[in-house]
């Protein structure tokens, strides 16, 4: 007689299921007794009484499940334990046992069990997050710190420790990363490739990675560094560390830096470091000065799309000197200082026709763009593009809301998950007679709503009907940030929006450009706000002032 046992850490199963498994393995050849119990101290006595106490059970804790068998021979015992493991893991087709996944109570347990973990994801409340991150770093493990409310002093300490140990501390409040093809937090299913992304901007990273995927290239690593990394107090510590890491990575041939505007002093340090690397670096500091980036020998890109296109071209081996080269309106060098970009390709045929149709149907007095965004960085990019295309003063008369901001999400889910808040805003916008365009982002991927487009459509229809009753038309412009490999499916989501009459753009920047073009065209009808100061930068052709966003394949 031999007794064998196996421990399943933190396994929680319905008692009926455990009994069924015990009965099944007890019926196997050569098995005389089987028991599945939680490994409490008291249950060791039970196992002892039953003649089933094996050494493995002694090291287990009260939240661990121990499976013990008494058998005629070692081989029979191991077969029985394997069967139990199959049943518990849900890999056996005959069960629905997918609830149990091995997880561990401490980082130490996880490392011991996995025998080679190199990333810990910390998502405890902020109060405890620093301690957990410290434990991981001290064990030589990189940290993805999803937790928010981590004091900046702790962030500095953690990042300094990470750098000293040649590790990454991604975060805090880090929403997105893709490491060796594994998505962490909110991320999209993008193909693997040789472009490394480093971002202090969650949806910015998502947008760039999706557009790279769409352009046929892929991502080696996407490293989130946390929104405060380029704050003067933190000093870009982790962006610098990630740069070094990707420069040394043989799988990365191009690097893209993405951030909201950093502190000037930090920007210079980061740009200097990037400029000293052998790997080409594309820099997208939203609203930053391309000339500064160029001065360090780097490639400036003023939109997420331009950054993705530049990186994709570099990945293909094409030479790219400047991702703002396609600007035809003077860009940052324009006389009034307003940064402008061009939508050189403009919307594709169907969208272009839809835009023209929308402009024709808008009534006098309809001029305002209402941007209702789920992604903070995407709303920031839209604001910039309105400024570039319409002029800063005119842009301020439009409304671009980041509905994922704390101001809107206190007490309710993020709009990437729950569409209701945004739907309320869409309907309310329709009641304002000045609304001409509703501008939306639709973010797909891990963690996002299962059908974000489908969830928006009823509100869009409702808004259109309300406007129609008042004799008005409403243009709705959107872009979908995602890929066809995302579980929501980009093409499927776009088809749902197109069927609802939404004007689709392949990127957030192009969507903002289309909205700006429509708004600019309405001014010709005298519908603009008093003193709105329409920009002349967008030009006008055939009634559509098409400002500009470089599309895939279009000149950078």
């Amino acid at each position: 007689m031999t007794v064998h046992a196996r421990v399943f850490r933190n396994s929680y199963r319905d008692s009926v299921e455990l009994m069924r498994i015990a009965a099944e393995i007890e019926g196997l050849d050569g098995i005389t007794r089987a028991g599945l119990v939680m490994a409490t101290l008291a249950n060791r006595e039970v196992l002892q009484e039953a003649g089933l106490l094996a050494e493995a059970a002694l090291a287990a804790g009260p939240n661990d499940l121990v499976v013990a068998v008494a058998a005629d021979a070692d081989a029979a015992a191991e077969i029985a334990l394997d069967r139990a493991a199959e049943r518990l893991s849900g890999t056996d087709a005959g069960t629905a046992a997918d609830a149990v996944r091995t997880s561990w109570r401490t980082i130490a347990e996880g490392v011991a069990d996995l025998g080679g973990a190199d990333v810990a994801l910390v998502s405890t409340p902020g109060t405890y997050a620093t301690a957990e991150a410290l434990k991981a770093l001290k064990r030589g493990i990189n940290v993805f710190l999803f937790s928010d409310n981590v004091p900046i002093e702790d962030e500095i300490e953690l990042k300094n420790l990470a750098v000293a140990r040649d590790l990454l501390l991604m975060g805090p409040d880090c929403g997105t990363a893709i490491l060796d093809g594994v998505p962490l937090g909110f991320a999209n299913a993008v193909r693997r490739g040789d472009i490394g992304l480093i971002g202090a901007s969650g949806t910015g990273l998502q947008q760039v990675s999706c557009l790279i995927d769409r352009g046929g290239a892929g991502v080696s690593q996407a490293i989130g560094v946390g929104g405060r990394d380029l704050d003067a107090r933190v000093g870009g510590t982790m962006m610098l560390a990630a740069l070094r890491r990707l420069d040394a990575d043989p799988g990365t041939r191009v690097i893209v830096l993405i951030s909201k505007p950093p502190a000037d002093t930090v920007a210079r340090v980061v740009l200097q470091a990037a400029g000293s690397l052998e790997t080409p670096v594309v820099v997208n500091f939203l609203g930053g000065d391309p000339a500064t980036v160029r001065a360090f020998g780097l490639i400036p890109a003023r939109t997420f799309e331009a950054a993705a296109n530049a990186a994709t071209a570099l990945s293909r081996g094409e030479a790219v000197a400047d991702a703002t080269a396609g600007d035809t309106t003077g860009g940052a060098d324009s006389a009034d200082g307003a940064d402008r970009t061009e939508v050189s390709a403009g919307p594709a045929g169907a969208s272009r026709r839809a835009s023209a149709d929308a402009i024709a149907r808008l009534q006098p007095g309809q001029w305002r763009i209402r941007g209702l965004f789920a992604g903070g960085s995407l709303s920031g990019e839209a604001k910039l593009i309105l400024g570039w295309t319409l002029g800063a003063e005119a842009a301020r008369t439009h409304e671009i809301l980041d509905l994922g901001d704390d101001e809107y999400t206190v007490g309710r889910p993020h709009p990437m998950i729950d569409p209701r808040l945004r739907n309320e805003h869409i309907v309310a916008a329709a009641d304002d007679p000045s609304t001409a365009v509703i501008l939306l982002d639709v973010v797909l991927g891990h963690g996002a709503n299962a059908d974000p487009a489908g969830a928006l459509v009823p509100a869009i229809r409702d808004a259109r009907q309300r406007a129609a009753r008042a004799g008005r038309h409403l243009a709705v412009v959107a872009s979908v940030c995602g890929t066809d490999a995302d579980f929501q499916g980009r093409s499927r989501q776009e088809a749902i929006l197109a069927a609802a009459g939404v004007i689709l753009a392949p990127s957030n920047a192009q969507a903002a450009g289309i909205a700006a073009a429509i708004a600019a065209a309405t001014r010709g009808d005298g519908g603009g706000p008093a003193g709105g100061g329409a920009s002349d930068g967008a030009g006008s052709a055939g009634g559509i002032a098409m400002s500009v966003v470089t599309g895939p394949g279009a000149p950078l």
Binding site: M38, T40, L41, A42, I417, H446
Partner: protein, 323 residues
């Protein structure tokens, strides 16, 4: 990792235990502790919170939703991030958002009955109850190595391991309750923690049952379920997290709705439906329902002063001697 079936964008909670309202209002982040088909447990700094569908009974640490959602199919996994606040529970990885704003409150506090009145009712009903419990347990015989053996055991054959280990400890606890000795009750209770099969081991279920008896039929003096607090302090190291949650609330006189119903049938004014209530109790889980019922019966016997002479659970002679 993601659900393929369409489901509502936000789910409505219909019932929230008063015992966790304040905890939710504090907000913050926590993680998924365990996932079952119709139940998901959240591990929060303030203890476990259980979310269940409409078929799940109200729990002292739980909230109930309209309809049912298959949490496994929704892709929820242990360790997933959960965001809590006064109005919402959000689990981004499963694209789940539960709206608490329309949920009714439910008090898990078990009401007490005047001791003399309850004791009289119990003495009148105890014999019938024993018969009903024995019949219901026998009908489910072979359904697990819990304490059920104590209820329908013939006194001659050997007891299953768990029952044999638990019996003398239960007797010690019953004696402590009879003597209204919280200190002895606490010590006896400790010896039962974590004993037996299941997510809520049999010994823990019996402790919850006994605490329900004490809460519903509080004897004159100072004895109440707080003797369990001694157990709760050390429970995290001695039993499962799920069980710890039940014990913690039991120590505060808070119990699942099924126990409210059972106690009302046993010592309330109207015993109508006693048989069906007992059958439902026994049918709960693999052994948990029966194990809890054993605790309730032993507790009522102890408090009514019949623990030695006419125990509801007819222990075998060997066990009586050991006790």
């Amino acid at each position: 990792m993601h659900p393929t079936s369409t489901r509502p964008d936000a789910l409505d909670a219909t019932l929230v235990s008063d015992a966790i309202r304040a905890h939710l209002a504090r907000g913050g982040r926590c993680v998924v502790h365990s996932v079952f088909r119709s139940v998901v447990n959240l591990e929060t700094p303030g203890g476990l919170i259980t979310i269940g569908g409409s078929s799940v009974e109200p729990l002292p640490h739980g909230l109930r939703m309209r309809g049912d959602i298959d949490f496994r199919a929704a892709g929820l996994r242990i360790g997933h991030q959960v965001l809590l606040d006064e109005r919402w529970i959000r689990i981004p990885a499963g694209a789940i958002a539960i709206d608490l704003s329309h949920a009714a409150g439910w008090s898990p506090r078990l009401p007490s009955t005047d001791f003399a009145l309850a004791r009289t009712r119990w003495r009148v009903r105890a014999s019938d109850v024993r018969g009903l419990v024995a019949a219901a347990v026998r009908a489910r015989s072979g359904s697990g190595d819990g304490l059920g053996d104590l209820v329908h055991h013939d006194g001659h054959t050997s007891l299953q391991s768990v029952a044999r280990l638990a019996a003398p400890r239960l007797q010690r606890l019953a004696a402590a309750l009879r003597d209204a000795d919280p200190s002895a009750a606490g010590m006896a209770a400790e010896s039962l923690v974590g004993l037996g099969p299941g997510l809520t081991p049999s010994g823990d279920d019996a402790l919850v049952g006994m605490a329900a008896a004490v809460t519903a039929m509080p004897p004159p003096g100072t004895l109440d379920a707080t003797y369990l607090r001694r157990v709760v302090d050390t429970a995290p190291a001695r039993t499962t997290a799920v069980s710890t949650a039940f014990l913690r609330h039991a120590a505060d006189g808070e119990f699942a709705a099924g126990l409210h119903e059972l106690m009302a049938a046993l010592i309330g004014p109207d015993p109508t439906g006693l048989a069906s209530t007992i059958e439902r109790s026994v049918a709960f889980g693999a052994t948990s329902g029966t194990d809890t019922l054993v605790g309730v019966l032993m507790g009522l016997d102890a408090l009514a002063g019949t623990v030695v002479d006419t125990p509801a659970v007819p222990l075998p002679e060997t066990v009586r001697a050991a006790a």
